[in-house]
């Protein structure tokens, strides 16, 4: 029995070190996404479903944000001083042609490795806005359901639809 536990723990540690750790961002987003999906499927309360939906969307946002991240990279705003201090050995004085003929000699050649990829982050600003809009519409609909049915529990709503016990607007 003790042997079994030891082997099991060893396997788990091996799995975490070799499989989970190198792709930690993917694992975390998948776990979050599954939590959100579980909330969507298993929860009966409409508001809890919406919380699940939010977690689901946030997991995808997290995935995108992790795409743009690089080790030792900074925000993608070109800063002459930061560029100079970071790695003077690598960065060479810029030739005018490298800057498209516009260089005044002050700028250095830009090393893209020093900057995080801004595109996924920018995309996620849009996706967050979309998510907020969806949540807003969903909450408004949930409120209107509550007004008509007097409850937010899914099974009670289905029961009331069957019996016809709800506010009719005709």
């Amino acid at each position: 029995m003790v042997d079994f536990i030891e082997i099991f723990v060893e396997r788990v540690v091996h799995f975490i070190e070799n499989v989970v750790q190198p792709h930690f961002n993917y694992w975390s987003y998948v776990v979050l996404m599954m939590i959100g999906l579980w909330g969507l499927i298993a929860k009966r309360n409409l508001i809890k479903k919406l919380i699940g939906l939010s977690i689901f969307q946030t997991a995808i946002i997290l995935f995108y944000v992790s795409l743009g991240v690089k080790a030792d990279a900074t925000i993608p705003v070109f800063d002459y001083e930061a560029e100079k201090s970071k790695s003077a050995a690598v960065v060479l004085p810029a030739e005018p042609s490298e800057m498209g003929g516009k260089s005044d000699g002050k700028y250095k050649k830009i090393d893209p490795d020093h900057y995080a990829n801004p595109l996924p982050h920018v995309l996620m600003l849009t996706a967050i806005v979309v998510g907020v809009a969806t949540l807003g519409v969903a909450l408004a609909v949930a409120q209107s359901i509550f007004k008509d049915f007097g409850t937010l529990e899914e099974h009670e709503i289905l029961e009331k639809i069957k019996t016809g016990d709800y506010v009719k607007h005709d």
Partner: protein, 524 residues
């Protein structure tokens, strides 16, 4: 000016929505002219683009903000995929026209007769309606995979609002379920695009395909496969493909009639278009059918979808729900047709043609059913009793739509089935051919049952049933039931287009096949 047409097509309803929201709250009479003007502008742009593509044989490009490929800024050439590209080609030109026609007709249909209540919602309705049009045009025209996601969500959010606007509380519950399912679908799509971006480093559809074609590493990688599965799953949820159709029937049958008349024909069809666009332009047909051969499985799913949709439709006794289940079956036609791997791509051609045909057929039927519901309070099949006599002019439109759904020759429904069956035979997928034929039979049973109830009825209508009643029009009650011109004209135009598209099928298919031949690697 001609170069600007693609973007005006999308922007016009967007600004229209803004103006309706601004001015419509003060005077409701301002809503309708604004909506009509903006939708007419869109339709003219769509037709102009189609004309341009037809005469030049080339796709029309527009780069938002002028960030076009090949443009030189400060000595650096901008690569493809820097800006958002809008492109009208042979595949989406006609889809744009159909969207333009459908939204315009439904906006005319949606005019409330004078003195009807519930006008405090009018400007909200038109505002959402125009946003829906904007999203539909946008997702058809865009060439940027992420931009597509945003526009899919624009149209979906508008449709959630439109469905929830109805007076039936059941519609609100259906809208909630649709929000959950629709958002999960869009999120899957977004995730798929993330994987594609991770692997190819671009969001431009042509850029992605070039990377997949040029680099075997990328093409064989698991990330691209996962991306493809996620994108397909997302779109299948949005289009209500068989196992994922649960949200559709309630959402489309309990929403306001005019909203249903625009959502049912367009939302699912545009999602099918997006799926075909993904297969042709983003992944390339070669990759889809050779590296990732799931054609067998998906055609079987489509066969099940067709059978299930038909059987459920037979079991319904509510008119709208019956049509909703028919949509589920029709989605099966299109997905199955697109996945038939015949060498000449007749299945794919049939699927694209069926997008156009089915949009018109569904529009026609939903307009007619909405008119029945409005004027005669028809909800169940039995309520149709004797309606032929009471509303002969509306019934004519309904019959054309029904015959097209069955697949009677001069209508477009016959020709789309013809091409789909040809694809099925050439690829040796007999189960798909059988499903199509059985589904046509079921449609025939469904609609002839309706004709029987409506024409012969169990209880004859009051008054004397002479055939010259229509000419005299003596009974005021009978005249009172017939729909106003704002309902009849859109219905008749749709019916005429159904027959027109059927008669023009040779030219339309030739036009469509240019895309399939150009990009698919199959025979032109």
């Amino acid at each position: 000016m001609i170069d600007q047409l693609p973007v005006i097509c999308v922007l016009s309803p967007l600004f229209g929505a803004l103006f309706v929201a601004l001015f419509g709250s003060r005077s409701h009479s301002a809503c309708f002219p604004i909506a009509i003007v903006s939708l007419v502008i869109s339709l003219i742009c769509a037709i102009g683009c189609t004309q341009q593509v037809f005469t030049t044989g080339q796709a029309m490009d527009y780069f938002v903000g002028g960030w076009g490929a090949g443009k030189v800024v400060e000595g650096v050439e901008i690569p493809l995929g820097f800006g958002i590209q809008l492109r009208v080609d042979h595949l989406n030109a006609l889809v744009l026209c159909i969207i333009g026609i459908a939204v315009l007709l439904v906006s005319i249909f949606a005019i409330r007769p004078q003195g009807e209540k519930d006008t405090e919602k009018t400007h909200y309705f038109y505002s959402l309606f125009l946003m829906l049009a904007c999203g539909l045009f946008g997702q058809t025209i865009t060439r940027d995979a992420f931009n597509l996601f945003v526009l899919v969500e624009v149209s979906s959010l508008a449709s959630y609002g439109l469905i929830a606007m109805g007076s039936s509380p059941r519609g609100t519950v259906a809208a909630f379920n649709y929000i959950i399912m629709g958002t999960v679908g869009a999120s899957f799509y977004l995730l798929g695009v993330g994987y594609l971006y991770l692997k190819t480093g671009t969001l431009n559809m042509d850029g992605i395909r070039q990377v997949i074609e040029l680099s075997p590493d990328v093409a064989d990688s698991r990330s691209v496969m996962v991306a493809f599965i996620l994108i397909m799953l997302g779109m299948w949820i949005k289009m209500a493909f068989f196992p994922l159709y649960g949200w559709l029937p309630n959402a489309y049958s309990y929403c306001p009639s005019s909203a249903g008349a625009v959502l049912a024909p367009l939302m699912t069809k545009v999602s099918v278009y997006v799926m075909i666009r993904m297969m042709i332009t983003v992944f390339g047909l070669e990759w889809v059918f050779e590296s990732f051969d799931w054609s067998a499985l998906i055609v079987w799913l489509a066969v099940i979808a067709i059978f299930a949709g038909s059987v459920f439709a037979l079991a319904q006794n509510e008119l709208k729900k019956m049509l909703c289940y028919l949509i589920v079956a029709e989605v099966g036609y299109m997905v199955g047709g697109a996945w038939l791997a015949d060498a000449d791509r007749w299945g794919l051609t049939g699927a694209i043609y069926h997008i156009l045909a089915d949009a018109l057929m569904t529009l026609c039927l939903f307009l007619a059913v909405a008119t029945f519901a409005k004027r005669a309070g028809v909800i169940k099949l039995d309520d149709l009793d004797g309606l032929f006599k009471k509303m002969p002019l509306t019934m004519v439109g309904f019959i054309v739509g029904a015959l097209a759904m069955i697949g009677v020759p001069p209508t477009c429904g016959f020709f789309s089935k013809f091409y789909l069956i040809r694809g099925g035979i050439e690829s040796g997928r007999w189960e798909f051919v059988i499903a199509l034929l059985v589904s046509s039979l079921v449609n025939a049973i469904l609609f002839f049952r309706i004709f029987e109830i409506a024409y012969f009825g169990s209880s004859p209508p009051e008054g004397h049933g002479h055939h010259d009643d229509e000419e005299h029009g003596e009974t005021t009650a009978r005249r009172g039931l017939e729909a106003p011109l704002t309902s009849l004209v859109p219905l008749w135009i749709t019916a005429a287009l159904i027959i027109g598209l059927g008669l023009m099928n040779g030219q339309v298919v030739e036009f469509i096949r240019k895309t399939v031949g150009l990009l698919g690697g199959g025979a032109a």
